[in-house]
Every structure is written in C-alpha cells, then in structure tokens.
Symmetry: C2
DNA sequence: GCTTGACTTCGAGTGCGCTCCAGGGGGTAC
DNA sequence: GTACCCCCTGGAGCGCACTCGAAGTCAAGC
C-alpha cells in the first residue's frame, strides 16, 4: 500500500510501453499530473533542486491512471475527451455520474467501430476467397479443378 | 452491363459517402485512374475540351474499386499499401497471388486490431461497472443497498 | 574536475489523411 | 451576355498525436 516513491519517467515508459516523450506530452497536455521528487528522499542534500527541473515519480496511482488512459487512447478516444475525463477523475467522487456517461458513450462508439471493422473484414475475406478460386489455376496452391475463367472483377 | 458512361465526381462522391476532394486526392495519389469524358458524347462540339479540364466519369468498375478501397481504408490500411494493391490490380491477372498475400497480411492485422479493441472495450466496461457500484450511493439510479465505501481507485 | 547519463524545459518538426483555396473552363438557363 | 453550377488543376493549410532537438540541471563514477 505504500507508494514506495515510484518509478522514474524512463522506467515508467518502459513498463507502459510508450516513449518518455509521450509521457511528458500527456502531462503537458493536461491529461494528468505527476508528482516530483523533491518531497522526501533517503539522503537529503541541502536543497531539493530547482522546482522546475525536478524529476517526475510515477507511483501505482499514476501508473494505473496511465494504463487506463492508454486503453482510452487505444480505442481512439481523442485527447480532448480524455482530458475531460481525467479532469473529472481529479475532481473527486461526485463526478462519477458524468465519468460514467462519458465512458458509456465511448463504449458505444467502440462497439460500433468493432462492428464496422468486422464488416470490412468480411469483405476482405471474401476477396481473399475469390483470389483463392482464381489463383488455383496459376501460382500457388494445387487443388482440385474448378473452372478457371477470369470472369471480370479485380 | 453497359457502362452507361458513368457518374460525375459529385454523384460518385455522394454515392460513396466521401467528398469530391477525397476522390480527386485518391486519384492524384496514384490509387486509381478514372477515365475522362472526351471520348464519346451525344452532342460533339468541335473539340473535346482541353484534355486537362476533362471531367472524370465513374463507371461500375471504378465504383466497385473505390468501394473496396474504402473497405481497406476503413480498416486502417495505409495509403502506400493501398497504392501497391491497386497497382497490382491494374497490372492484370497474374498478380493475383501477390494481391492475395497482401490482403491476407492485412486481414491478420485487422483481426489483431479487433481483438485489441475487444480487450480495451472490456476494460472500459469494467470501469463502467465499477462506477455503477459506486454511483448507487450518490447521483443517478436508486437500486438496492450495496456497501458505499470509496475504497480507493479512480 | 570532468565525463556520463538520465532527467528537465520549450518549441519546432513530422507523417498521415485529408480539406480547402485561388484561378479557370464550359455548358445550360434566363 | 451574364449568371449559375459543376467541373478542372496545383498547391497550401489543417488537425491530430506524437517525436525530436537544443540547451540546461543534477547525481554518480573515475
């Protein structure tokens, strides 16, 4: 349960499978805030550094936030909506209803997207089958005889 | 079965659900060639126009090519690959094997994409469920009593 | 002290797929 | 003839999500 002071940006990037550029970009773009080092550390040199130039530390909470962020990105939610969602998360528990609404609407979009992809996939597979039938005559596989006319079509 | 001289670019765009800009862009980008008017027409003015400035006519063959092109685009195939595929189509029947290969590889990509989307969708749905359980206490629906602690999490 | 390496900032650059614009053609309607 | 509408071209612009570069900071190792 202890935050254990978290990972550096490089480690976090590695673990999440994105670039450090992307992580910084997300923060710059207002998607989330990441705490910085100077708070408490084992050996305390005189001063925590310059306050800018302070290194980010990614704890469990940031990581799980980012994991979900990547889920949203991975389903094509635009940055602007993600920004809104993350702001709601930061704003506390009484934004749950609105967050839910946002996710439900996105869920519908994703479902539709999957359906459309499935349709298109079907069309691609049909074309492949057509090529299989046509290709039995010339190049690759040797199967039993079907008529080998090139009756139009691509 | 007769080509009936085909549609204008505006009509084709309307029918395919894209903009005329996009159709011209596809052609400019080498995805396909579209025949032009000046061949044979009812009233022949002295000269068929300037040869540039000649209007495109979209016949069944162009339309079905475009429909499949849109399937490929709709599944995220990049323009460069589509260009290759379309070149193979133009090149004639003995490119069928290579076309097939291209489509099969894309098919795999789309299948993977759908799977990934499904995974992400699951994560989103779980989050929604979590919000449902949390939200029973405060804002929207009134259901029977579950414990209403906010035990961590976004 | 100097180098190395991972971090910091801000701003500019990239790639993709359109999308739009200026400037012009040409045919039909009034 | 001139208004209208759809068509043409080449090139510029846009939105998105990164991606990279220059210049600087800091801690650790030799």
């Amino acid at each position: 349960m202890l935050p254990a002071a978290g990972l550096s940006i490089g480690e976090a990037a590695l673990r999440l499978g994105v670039s450090v550029h992307t992580l910084r970009y997300y923060e710059r773009d207002g998607l989330l805030n990441v705490p910085r080092l100077p708070a408490a550390r084992e050996t305390e040199t005189v001063q925590p550094p310059d306050s800018r130039h302070a290194q980010r530390r990614y704890g469990e909470s940031e990581l799980s936030l980012l994991r979900f962020l990547l889920v949203l990105r991975g389903t094509g939610m635009p940055m602007s909506l993600i920004r809104r969602y993350m702001a709601l998360v930061r704003a506390g528990e009484d934004t749950v209803a609105e967050r839910r609404e946002l996710l439900v609407s996105h869920q519908r979009a994703v479902t539709a997207q999957i359906a459309a992809l499935g349709e298109n996939l079907k069309a691609i597979e049909q074309k492949i089958v057509k090529y299989d039938r046509a290709g039995g005559c010339a190049p690759l596989p040797a199967s039993e005889g079907t008529s080998c006319e090139t009756t139009g079509g691509h």
